[in-house]
C-alpha cells in the first residue's frame, strides 16, 4: 500500500486512528481488479500498459479479471458496435458493486471516427462512465493517468454512495437495476 500518508490519521502511543470509510477506500483503491473489455487498437495500447514496460501491477492491478463477477473496474478500450452494446451492458450489470468504468479512447468515449449507423456513439449511452481517456489510441501513459483518476475517485467515494437515491437514479437513467443495494443495507 505505502500510501498511508494520504489519509487523515491520529497517531498515538502504539496506535493509529482513522475513519473506517477512508481505510476501506484506501484498500479498495490499491486493489482494483480490472476487467479489460478490449475490442480494437486501444486494446493493443492497453496490453502494452499491462506489460512489463508500463506495468499496471504497480498500482495493485496485478490480475486482469476476465469475469465480471470478480472485477471492480470495467476498462472499455475500443470501438463498440451497436450490436455489441447489449453485451457490454450485460457485462456491466454482472459486476458486483462497487464498480467503476474507464472509457479508453475516442471510440469508446464518443464513437470516434466511426460516425456511422453501426457504431455506438459513446458507451455512456448504455452504461455510466467514471473516467474518459482521450486519444486515438491513447498512449499507455494516458491510460495510466486515467487509472490514477479512477483511484482518486475510489479513494474519495463515500461508503454509502452505492446505496443512495442519487445512485439509484443514475442507474435508472440507463435502465439498469441496482441489484445488491437493498440486501446489503
Amino acid at each position: 500500500m505505502g500510501k498511508i500518508e494520504d489519509l487523515e490519521v491520529i497517531n498515538g502511543e502504539g496506535y493509529q486512528l482513522t475513519t473506517l470509510d477512508k481505510a476501506v477506500a484506501l484498500a479498495r483503491a490499491n486493489s482494483v481488479w480490472p476487467l479489460p473489455f478490449a475490442t480494437s487498437c486501444c486494446g493493443i495500447e492497453f496490453m502494452a500498459t499491462m506489460g512489463s514496460m508500463y506495468d499496471l501491477s504497480r498500482f495493485g492491478m496485478e490480475r486482469m479479471s476476465f469475469t465480471p463477477r470478480q472485477s471492480d473496474l470495467l476498462i472499455v478500450a475500443g470501438t463498440i458496435s451497436k450490436k455489441l452494446g447489449p453485451v457490454l451492458q450485460k457485462v456491466y450489470e454482472q459486476m458486483a458493486e462497487p464498480k467503476w468504468v474507464l472509457s479508453v479512447g475516442a471510440c469508446a468515449s464518443s464513437g470516434g471516427i466511426f460516425d456511422t449507423y453501426s457504431v455506438l456513439q459513446g458507451i455512456d449511452r448504455i452504461i455510466p462512465v467514471d473516467v474518459y481517456v482521450p486519444g486515438c489510441p491513447p498512449r499507455p501513459e494516458q491510460i495510466i493517468d486515467g487509472v490514477m483518476n479512477i483511484h482518486r475517485l475510489v479513494k474519495h467515494e463515500p461508503m454509502r454512495r452505492r446505496y443512495s437515491e442519487e445512485y439509484r437514479h443514475l442507474l435508472s437513467e440507463y435502465k439498469i437495476e441496482v441489484t445488491n443495494a437493498e440486501n446489503d443495507k
Binding site: K82, K83, S110, D115, T116, Y117, S118
Partner: protein
C-alpha cells in the same frame, strides 16, 4: 492441372449456356457475365455440376445498389472459383428495387447461407428458399437496409459534431 484462360472459359460458357448469358466482359483479369435473375440459380448449378468447368467453390456473394438504373437498381454478384481449372468467374444478376428476390444458393453451397444473410441485411435482397433469412451483422431491431444509398452513412444521433469545430 492446366490453368484455364479467360477466353477458353468464355468459349466454354458460350457453348454450355449460349443465349442465357446476357452480357460478357473481362474486368480486372476476371470474366464477368450477366445472367437474368430468374436464371441465376440454374446457371450456377450448371457451372458447378459441369465436369469440365467444375466451379466447386463460392468465394463471395455481394450486393450493389445502382439507384440511377430504373428496373435494375439492385445487383447480386457471385464470385465463383474453379479449383480444378484455377480460374475465377464473376456472375451478376440485376433486380428491381421493388420486391427484389432471387433464388437462394444454399442447396448448392453451404457457404451461401451467411453470405446471403449479409446481402439481405445490407441490401434487403430476399433469397427464396433460404433456411434462415434474418439479419446477421446489424442489430435485429434495425428497420432499414443500410447500404441502400438513400440512407445516410452517419449516425443521426451524434451530438458532438459541431460544424463550428469541423469546418463544415
Amino acid at each position: 492441372m492446366q490453368k484455364m484462360t479467360n477466353s477458353a472459359l468464355a468459349e466454354a460458357l458460350n457453348s454450355l449456356l449460349g443465349e442465357r448469358i446476357v452480357t460478357s466482359e473481362e474486368l480486372y483479369d476476371t470474366l464477368v457475365v450477366e445472367v437474368s435473375s430468374a436464371d441465376a440459380f440454374s446457371v450456377i448449378e450448371t457451372l458447378k455440376l459441369d465436369p469440365k468447368l467444375s466451379f466447386n467453390f463460392l468465394t463471395l456473394i455481394g450486393g450493389v445498389h445502382y439507384p440511377e438504373n430504373p428496373g435494375r437498381e439492385l445487383c447480386v454478384v457471385y464470385h465463383l472459383h474453379s479449383w480444378k481449372n484455377a480460374i475465377r468467374l464473376r456472375i451478376k444478376a440485376y433486380l428491381p428495387a421493388e420486391n427484389p428476390s432471387i433464388q437462394s444458393l444454399t442447396s448448392l453451397y453451404e457457404t451461401a447461407n451467411w453470405m446471403e444473410r449479409e446481402t439481405f441485411d445490407f441490401f434487403g435482397i430476399k433469397f427464396e428458399n433460404h433456411p434462415n433469412l434474418t439479419r446477421i451483422l446489424n442489430m435485429d431491431d434495425m428497420d432499414y437496409h443500410p447500404m441502400l444509398k438513400e440512407h445516410p452513412l452517419e449516425d443521426g444521433t451524434r451530438e458532438d459534431k459541431d460544424d463550428r469545430f469541423f469546418g463544415r
